[in-house]
């Protein structure tokens, strides 16, 4: 509101300039309310997940996982390309080398560890450092906050699982003697891997965010999640192989890493390498998809309720 002027003089030229301190200026521009608030939390979530704007050390973890996911796809594409080149056209298909339908099964454990390590960064730090108290006093509700954070991490996860499939598609097409023909024959793989990738990302994001909502320590959430995914796999696989019939199938359903892979199988219409030994594969598609939704929607609802009730 106040305006002060100082007049420094250039001693060399003898000319003077005027520096104005225009004082405090009230803001009279637009206020974009909740939509801008949600968008800001969403953008910040993406930056946090990918460590954008932070030092090189902070970037190592998220980008290493993305690199590993792409590397797996690259290896698969190179294997198929080599088979075609040295074995002749159609050899890759005859050898039943892993392809789009198998990728998510093979890479799922890396996807889950990625979610376990990175997702807590979006929630735990805000609560541990008290920043959440500043979000909740702005034109933003707890539900807005958690949905924006969830959407941000889902976006990162979707990009992280789609990118390798695009690399794989490019590799397979380039390895084929007739790339255009390959794309024409296999174009249906594109919507399939997009849908299956979205399912995998939504599942991993929701479980990881829910776990992170119970602790302020990122390490605790990460260790719990990695343990959950890594331990349930051998436990359920071992138990399901001992118990036959419906009971074995249902025990197999509790293999948390396989839940979205079964959906992947339903989408592609074929059993992938990873789930080919899981008794749950024999259950009807409706049950497998319903089970997936139960494991995604229930944790998602719990997460929403937890943040809706949050007050500083």
């Amino acid at each position: 509101m106040s305006t002060e002027a100082r007049q420094p003089t250039d001693t060399a030229t003898g000319r003077g300039g005027t520096v104005f301190d225009i004082g405090y200026r009230n803001y009279t521009g637009p206020r974009e309310g909740r939509s801008r608030a949600r968008s800001a939390v969403f953008k910040d979530g993406i930056r946090t997940a990918l460590a954008l704007g932070r030092g090189a050390r902070a970037k190592i973890l998220p980008w290493s996982f993305i690199a590993i996911l792409v590397f797996i796809a690259l290896i698969m594409a190179l294997m198929a390309g080599a088979a075609e080149r040295y074995g002749g056209p159609g050899v890759a298909e005859q050898l039943n080398l892993p392809s789009h339908a198998d990728y998510y099964g093979i890479a799922s454990i890396v996807v889950f560890v990625f979610a376990a390590v990175v997702a807590p960064e979006l929630l735990c730090r805000d609560r541990r450092e008290g920043v959440i108290n500043l979000y909740l006093v702005r034109p933003l509700t707890g539900s807005d906050y958690i949905m924006a954070r969830w959407a941000a991490f889902l976006t990162v996860m979707v990009a992280a699982v789609w990118l390798p499939q695009v690399v794989l598609l490019t590799g397979l097409a380039m390895g084929d003697p007739a790339p255009a023909m390959y794309l024409r024959d296999n174009w249906l793989d594109i919507p399939r891997f997009l849908a299956a990738g979205l399912a995998l990302a939504a599942y991993a994001t929701t479980l990881a965010m829910l776990t992170a909502s119970f602790t302020t320590r990122r390490a605790y959430a990460s260790v719990f999640l990695v343990g959950l995914f890594v331990i349930t796999t051998p436990f359920t696989v071992g138990l399901a192989s001992e118990i036959e019939g419906a009971a074995g199938q249902w025990i197999s359903m509790f293999n948390l890493t396989n839940i979205p892979v079964h959906v992947n199988d339903v989408i592609f219409g074929e059993v992938s390498t990873i789930t080919s030994v899981a008794p749950a594969r024999e259950l009807p598609a409706l049950v497998l998809v319903g089970w997936y939704f139960a494991w995604t929607l229930v944790p998602g609802s719990v997460l929403l309720v937890r943040y809706r009730r949050l007050t500083p």
Binding site: Y24, A40, D126
Partner: protein, 310 residues
Amino acid sequence: MTSTEPLLAAENLTKKYRDVVALDDVSFTISAGITGILGENGAGKSTAIKIFMGLVRPTSGSANVLGQNASTTVSVRARLGYMPEHDCLPSHVSAAEFLTHMAEVSGLPPSTARTRAADTLRHTGLFEERYRAMAGYSTGMKQRVKLGQALVHDPAVVFLDEPTAGLDPVGREEMLALVRKTYLDFGISVLFSSHLMADVERTCDRILILQGGRLVQSGEVGQFTKDTETVFIEVDTNRDQLMAALERRGVIVTADGTGLTIEGPDESVYDHVRDALVEAEAPLRRMAPRRRALTELFHREGDIDSGAAS
């Protein structure tokens, strides 16, 4: 909201947490300026602020801010600022980046948010340090960032919860000066919650005193201390005779060390003092009006309350 409407209005506000009554049928209004909410821990200060910000729903009664209920109209929070007492700053980002983000979360467009963040940091005295990660900031610097994030979106009213907590004497002076500047220079009304009476007395125009969830006093700070004005009289001899002479004239007087204190004097009391001095033949050494500090007043209220309870 019209200019005559109060910024904040509480009407029969009650908040109960199971058996604990945090606020008990409290009614008050707050208009533009710097208002202090004074009370000990657990008096209901933070609960009142949370209700005004729409974060906690009252058990009964109403609390409006800028003419609206912030729990049902979330958008009104875009015109409110809040500086919490406890730590709330991310350690790994710079003050400039953090304030820009907070301005956006308050609804400002990104390009404006950056400009506002830089301006606000300059006004709060952190311009030179704004690109450094906040992990390395001193307590005083962190308090300035906390104030900055509450002001970055140019709110109509800002809630400051113990803004001088943890500051050394110099930092405290600077923070209180910033609080004054927030209203006088920036035109942003302030609700200043504190248990430090000296801070409130020096900074605020008006105060509300909460005790055990009830509003025990409210009004202008100057009026508070004026109402409790006393006159101190010291005489060389015949103090007891002077006291008796004053009492005969209906003046409320108490012995105070070597002198006498007259409570709540009006203009006529000085005539009574003159006459009593003559009657008691007491040589006057000193006579001076004295106002109670808010601290003294607050303790007196506490004594009254505890006395009533027993």
